[in-house]
Symmetry: C2
Subunit: 167 residues, 2 copies
């Protein structure tokens, strides 16, 4: 596992998809970009998915990540929303992870890594992400989820590197 890497995190949602890009150099971390992609709700599903694909491929071309992290799908309350979320998730994995490995973490694991416990609410995630990454202001919620995701992956990489070092 290389010490320096650019990580792209994606939090796919049926309306808003959050993203975050960070550079990790050993113990240092630099926030490169974060934001929210908004899908037009009035277009047919196929158009919305194609647009998300295009936006995520643009993000990938712009930032050339070495690793991609996507939130593991929670199982939605009903089959209809699970299907819609699944569609967005499938497109996100393939478009963002086209040319690099894709990692997944559950929402619970992400919250535990960033806030300290798995039941943290969204507001706490926003505040912790802002603090940990020294952001000038609180990021939008969907972007904060993506930032939490890349942080979680960074911690997991560090832990793996330490285990390797201890061998």
């Amino acid at each position: 596992m290389p010490e320096s890497v650019r990580i792209l995190g994606i939090d796919p949602g049926s309306r808003f998809t959050g993203y975050a890009v960070i550079d990790v150099f050993g113990a240092d971390v630099n926030v490169v970009a974060y934001g929210v992609l908004k899908l037009p709700q009035k277009k047919p599903v196929s158009e919305r998915l194609k647009q998300l694909d295009m936006l995520l491929r643009q993000l990938g071309e712009e930032h050339c990540p070495g690793e991609v992290v996507v939130e593991e799908a929670f199982v939605a309350v009903n089959a209809r929303s699970a299907l819609v979320l699944g569609q967005v998730r499938g497109v996100a994995i393939v478009a963002a992870g086209a040319s690099c490995p894709v990692f997944e973490y559950s929402a619970r694991a992400v919250k535990k890594a960033v806030v300290g416990y798995g039941q943290a609410d969204k507001g706490q995630v926003v505040q912790m992400v802002k603090t940990l990454l020294h952001l000038p202001e609180a990021p939008p919620q969907d972007a904060a989820e993506a930032l939490a995701l890349v942080l979680c992956h960074m911690y997991s990489r560090r832990f793996a590197a330490r285990l390797e070092g201890a061998r």
Copy 2:
């Protein structure tokens, strides 16, 4: 709506994805290709989805369809399988329909168009597709669903053309 068109049909499934390519020239139809894409079940989801994306893009490059048809998602019995199906479906729509319009029909509409009633079983679909397209032998089931899908779209196009002509 042009009289001649190449139609690619995709029946996305979590394990097997059927496809079919036909050429329509006015009242004539020519079967170009059909088959089943099988996804390796032992690889991580992201690898499976990337592989499906690659296979479908290859299909698109090989056959250059003018229109793509995908089966409208039925709502699965549970949220877990809806999510899995949704992921495959999202990838299928974006990969196969990358450079042309995407149409959707429900399984019920497809069966009604091809067999004559919406509750037809899979075996009846296989037999009707074989008969209607003069295939030398019964196609594999997932391919038959994709063939039924392109037939349904062809009938729908003809109906639209007749309506246009009647004006």
